[in-house]
């Protein structure tokens, strides 16, 4: 069974790049969407094994997205969410836990990191 992964990133360039990396992984079915609206739509329809969301987006910081998903999308109430950003964004103690993220990856994303995250959390 393929792992379903949802990536939320408002940059087209980043979207292409992350899809390119994820396509290199075995048994991974990756979907990239550019904003919170689309993300919620997709999350309502399908259950995902992992969600990777850029932290700073035009629609706001993605902890709000996580909140919405937990509330409105039954299928993904338990789905782990990994944030993307820089070290300083997540430096505060318990920041990740308090905002519903299980971990974060630094941007620009390195293939090995992504591979590890997918293996660990999905």
């Amino acid at each position: 069974m393929d792992k379903k992964i949802l990536v939320v990133d408002d940059s087209k360039v980043e979207g292409i790049y992350i899809k390119f990396l994820l396509d290199k992984l075995d048994k991974v079915d990756a979907t990239v969407c550019p904003g919170f609206e689309e993300a919620l739509e997709l999350a309502e329809k399908d259950k995902y094994d992992l969600i990777i969301a850029d932290y700073y987006t035009i629609d706001g910081t993605s902890d709000m997205l996580v909140e919405d998903i937990r509330e409105k999308c039954e299928k993904n109430a338990e789905t782990p969410v990994v944030a993307m950003g820089r070290d300083i964004d997540f430096a505060e103690e318990d920041f990740l836990k308090n905002n519903g993220f299980i971990n974060y990856i630094e941007k620009p994303v390195k293939f090995n990191m992504l591979k590890a995250v997918v293996a660990l959390y999905s």
């Binding site: 360039v13 980043e14 035009i58």
Partner: protein
């Protein structure tokens, strides 16, 4: 007491302590160890027997004579046995296998005789007779059995030590000598003067203690010291191995970097020379460009030979001296590049590739073209201008691939192929036919003849690349690496403000994907949205956009843009929108320049 046992009784506790120590702590199963322990137990037992003997003899009528007789006999026997085992121990200490020496054989015989005499003493009384009231009378063999035998063995041991004095350290020898003198003196004293004083086993116990301290214990501390030294050596070895490995890795990295640093500008020189040759119609300009190219190639070959020597040196760790300039130039002379003239005997090495290709064509131009396509990739390329020369070459080397022209003087391609197959010279080598024959149906003919494939002239780089990909033992990865390096370099030249090497790491060396991303980057221009957000002071949008700018710039290797957006993000966090407005202009301008360059790829 009929005899004075105080000395011997006093030494019993010491003997017992030593025995206890040996039993509990001296647990090695070595022969020396076992022999020493046995000796210690015997001497302890002997001392005890000596004391017991006197007590029993002094006991009067309460102890029957038979008991007294037995105890007395045991006493004498233990003394001799202890002395015998002293010899065994001494021999074991130097590692001599006592069974093998003649002396040991004699000793064994003597011991047997001893036992016979002792045993028969019950009947013969030759050693001693019980004469009642706790007294024994000495028989004719008394001195021999009771004194001479033990003395003999002790002296034998002493002589043995002297005979193997090189096995003992000086202090050991001095100690042993003094102990010996002490023991023998006591023994003789007792034998001739103080018959009342029981001292033999006292002397033996003292001797035992001295031997233990001199011979046995030094080994322990030596052993511990040796173990410590070994442990230290091992740690040092590990450390130096690690250092060596690191040094080797550092050297490899350095070599790789050096190789890259040298190849890049040289390739640029050659590339631009090629451009001049392609564009310029002036004879003199073309000649100059050609000369520049040849020199660049020589320079490259020279450096590659240096790097090869250095890397060999690193790997083999041998004492190779670095070749002198002259040596290297000589080698470079040999490995001269093809320059359009007679090339049948010229070989060239470009890079360190073991993959060897043969190009056979009578037209210099075609040979030249093919060589120019193949050598830069790092293949070793040989040439021949007709079938006959080709066969000579194949006889000399094993080729991974052969390009063979059809129509040639002296011997054509088909004939050459036939002969090669007949001579079974290159059975696994794919031979590619170069043909001007574009008539359909001819292809089958060639393939039936034994050619692996054919290429119609004029051929393009794509066609040749395709053949190489299909027939050379290069994995797809290696292929991507070899060929793509030049593509990356070309790209780098078009994007001077970008560090293409950084992006290559992220993009897993996929140049096609990189180009896709660059184009997407050029299209995704959010400068206006960003400026608007700054003007409005919209924190959320500013952060998102600046972050996006920075992430994308880092991804594609646009170092400067990445740094600029970093600084702008810092300002945004502090809410310094005024300063941001000042910066955004310069940023947008530089980004626009990059987008234009991307457009020119």
């Amino acid at each position: 007491m009929v005899f004075n046992i105080y000395l011997e009784a006093a030494v019993i506790p010491i003997d017992l302590i030593l025995c206890a120590f040996l039993k509990l702590k001296y647990t090695d199963r070595t022969r020396v160890n076992r022999q020493f322990r046995l000796l210690a137990y015997l001497i302890t037992f002997g001392t005890f027997c000596d004391v017991l003997d006197v007590i029993v003899l002094s006991a009067g009528a309460s102890i029957p004579p038979s008991i007294k007789f037995v105890v007395n006999t045991i006493d004498y026997v233990v003394a001799t046995i202890a002395a015998y085992y002293f010899v065994q121990y001494v021999m074991a200490y130097v590692g001599v296998k006592w069974q093998d020496s003649t002396g040991a054989y004699i000793n064994r015989i003597l011991l047997v005789i001893y036992f016979v005499i002792c045993f028969t003493n019950i009947y013969t009384g030759s050693v001693f007779r019980y004469i009642g009231e706790g007294r024994f009378a000495e028989g004719p063999l008394f001195m021999m059995i009771v004194y001479a035998y033990p003395l003999y063995y002790i002296l034998y041991g002493g002589v043995f030590i002297l005979g193997h004095s090189e096995s003992y350290q000086m202090e050991m020898k001095v100690g042993l000598l003094l102990t010996f003198i002490f023991m023998i003196s006591l023994y003789l004293l007792q034998m001739f003067l103080f018959r009342d004083l029981m001292i033999t086993f006292f002397a033996a116990s003292v001797g035992l203690l001295v031997m233990f301290l001199l011979l046995e214990t030094p080994d322990y501390s030596k052993l511990m010291k040796t173990l410590d030294e070994l442990s230290i050596s091992r740690k040092e070895l590990e450390a130096s191995t690690t250092r060596a490995a690191e040094s080797s890795r550092a050297k490899s990295r350095f070599l790789a970097q050096m190789s890259n640093e040298i190849r890049t500008p040289v390739n640029a020189i050659m590339g631009y020379s090629n451009l001049i040759l392609a564009d310029s119609k002036e004879e003199s300009s073309r000649e100059y460009a050609q000369r520049v190219k040849i020199s660049a190639k020589r320079l490259l070959t020279f450096f590659e030979n240096v790097l090869e020597y250095v890397s060999d040196e690193t790997e083999e760790n041998g004492q190779r001296r670095l070749p002198s300039m002259a040596d290297l130039l000589d080698q470079t002379e040999e490995n001269t590049i093809y320059d359009g003239r007679d090339t049948t005997e010229r070989k060239a090495i470009s890079g360190a590739s073991q993959i060897r290709v043969l190009v056979v064509d009578d037209a210099d131009l075609n040979v030249d073209l093919l060589v120019r396509m193949l050598r830069p990739i790092g293949l070793t390329v040989d040439t021949a201008s007709n079938g006959k020369q080709a066969i000579l070459q194949v006889r000399k080397f094993r080729y991974d691939l052969i390009f063979m022209d059809h129509l040639m003087p002296v011997m054509d391609g088909v004939e050459a192929l036939k002969q090669l197959r007949e001579e079974k010279l290159c059975e696994d080598t794919p031979i590619i036919m170069l043909t001007a024959n574009a008539i359909s149906g001819e292809e089958e003919k060639y393939l039936k003849l034994g050619f692996a494939d054919y290429v119609t002239k004029p051929f393009t780089e794509e066609m040749i690349r395709d053949i190489l990909r299909r027939f050379l033992p290069i994995t797809e990865e290696q292929w991507q690496g070899e060929v793509a390096i030049s593509e990356w370099e070309a790209l780098q030249e078009k994007l001077p403000t970008v560090r293409v090497a950084d992006a290559r790491e992220y993009l897993l060396h996929d140049i096609a994907e990189y180009k896709t991303i660059l184009k997407a980057y050029a299209l995704e221009d959010n400068s206006s949205m960003l400026s608007a957000a700054i003007r409005k002071g919209d924190f959320v949008t500013c952060m998102a956009m600046l972050r996006q700018e920075r992430d994308c710039a880092s991804l594609i290797g646009a170092e400067n843009l990445s740094k600029m957006s970093d600084k702008m993000e810092a300002l945004c966090r502090k809410g310094e929108y005024e300063l941001l407005r000042e910066r955004i202009g310069a940023y947008t301008a530089e980004r626009a320049v990059l987008c234009e360059q991307i457009g020119n790829i």
